[in-house]
Amino acid sequence: MTEKMISLLFLIGSLTYLYWAQEFTFGTLGSPKSGFIPNLAGFTALLLSLLLILRQFRSKKYKNKEAVDWTKLLFILIGLVFYLLILNMAGYFVATFIFLFYLFKAADTSGWCFPLVLSFCSSAAFHLLFTYYLKVALP
């Protein structure tokens, strides 16, 4: 099912890209313009996604995939989005500390003290490394 969804997403993406590519002049073979490659690439992607979808609908093979903990994935994604949202507001050190602690707990790290201390020390180390050694202007 996920495979078909991804292929469908590519089909919609290719169609949208091809639609936007019409904004640029195609030109001629003797004088190709900025829309030349986008149109060719968009059309090829559309064709390939269609072929892929057709093949997937005809195929009855079921592949046994490795098990995934979808609840954990959801928690990690929520953490990622939350980190991006608070990074500018809370600043790098605080946001990274909260994010790391959250991820350690989401990844089933036992206890409270160890993840807390590790999150604090790691965020401080990363902050020092990027700010003072690499001279990166962190939020």
């Binding site: 073979l29 986008p38 690439a41 390939l48 093949r55 979808w70 990844a107 965020s123």
Partner: protein, 505 residues
Amino acid sequence: MDVLNLLLQGVSVSIIPSNLLSCTTGVLIGTLVGVLPGIDTVSAIALLLPFSYGMDSTAALIMFAGIYYGSKFGGSTTSILINVPGEAASVVTCLDGYPMGQKGRAGAALAISAIGSFIAGTIGLIGLTLLAPPLAQAALAFGPPEYFSLALVGLILLSKLTGTSTLKSALMAVIGIMLSTIGLDSLSGISRFTFGIDELDRGFDLSILAMGLFGIGEILTAMTHVDAKPNIPSVRFRDLYPTKEEWQRSITPMFRGGIVGFLVGLLPGPAATISSFISYGLEKRYSKHPEEFGHGAIEGVAGPEAANNSAISATMIPLLSLGLPFCGATAILLSGFMIHGITPGPSLITERPELFWGLIASMYIGNVLLLVINLPLIGVFVQLLKTPLNILMPLVAVVTLTGAYSINNSMLDLIWVTFFGILGFLLQRVGFEPSPLIIGLVLGPELERGLTQGLIICNGNIWTFITRPIAATILSLGAIVILYNFFTWFTKFNNKRKELDTNRY
């Protein structure tokens, strides 16, 4: 003789303490990347790009190259000890390496794998030293049609050779080309698909895409994977001695693997992985004990491990002499070159000979360092394998995100990394290989420039491309691959139809 003199000059560059330190750091990080499952070579190099800003360009590139070939060296450790390949290129090592470990010969398998990697790595480096300069010289005569042909055929071969579905790989490559059109068009100066967002004018940063697809994608896979904790055997230094028989059975596969790996490495695609499978097949065919394969045959470890290391040197040839990367890792290496203001390609050897030969000489030194450092440290690497992923992965996630932010100090880049991370996770899960997307992104501008400029030169007559000998030869190769693919599909389709007809009557 000239090559030898230039190589000696390269040695003088690579033994400068700072370069030697970079080489050692690179091979050590590379080994760690290879040893630790869940951390990929491409994402590791992408992750370390920001750390190289303050470094001298030669030292930085020596370090990145060290990570690249070091990772293949370390990849076999987990295959032999816990039946989990640290790298895709070491998948085949599991087949006989793990059964050897089960029989108490893990140390010998690790030693043979390391020595085979060293021998084959040296074979590959000799090939690189001899082939890269004449190819770069020949490439000076290349015009837009030749570069277009190379990029196009590279993508066609890549789609065929990724090991997953050709259709899926081709789609990934085309999506990469589509992504490469986002931003300012270098020929007309028009902004394409930017929707008024200024930050999109510079296009997609290769390292951002790689950090998302490979880095965050791998982290999500590792953190959500449901599996049992592996039992890791301990290996001491004295366990590393192979028996006389193991030696005798390994030496020919090592050399054969080295040659096969080098030849496969010249083709686009995940050469290290493909060459290891080809080598395994060859060793099984030529072995006097084919029945032992799959149950702990030493040839099944020596050949593939040699092949994947030799392939690494060969994949550097198109990057250094033509400036065209044909696999994910060399694409990200190209990004490392660009960050330091260096454009690999035909002019690199003439304009920056100290860097070119210094880099090649450092690879010889790195190869020796890997053997000297890794064998005594095998016990340490085994201990590192015991690092729980629930501690390691959150830390890697934070370094990846911070590294991505530091490239352009942009929050938009972080959003892209997260988006491509989720996409990378889903793609890997449903059997789409993300590497062709990265290659499409890198080769896209080359393809567009070559095609549009070539068409202008040829007054719109595309058939003129095949009147140019080099372009014609390269395009013929692409046509053969497409025809072969079509023929295989048609034969399969026909056989299936005949089978159905027979069943009906």
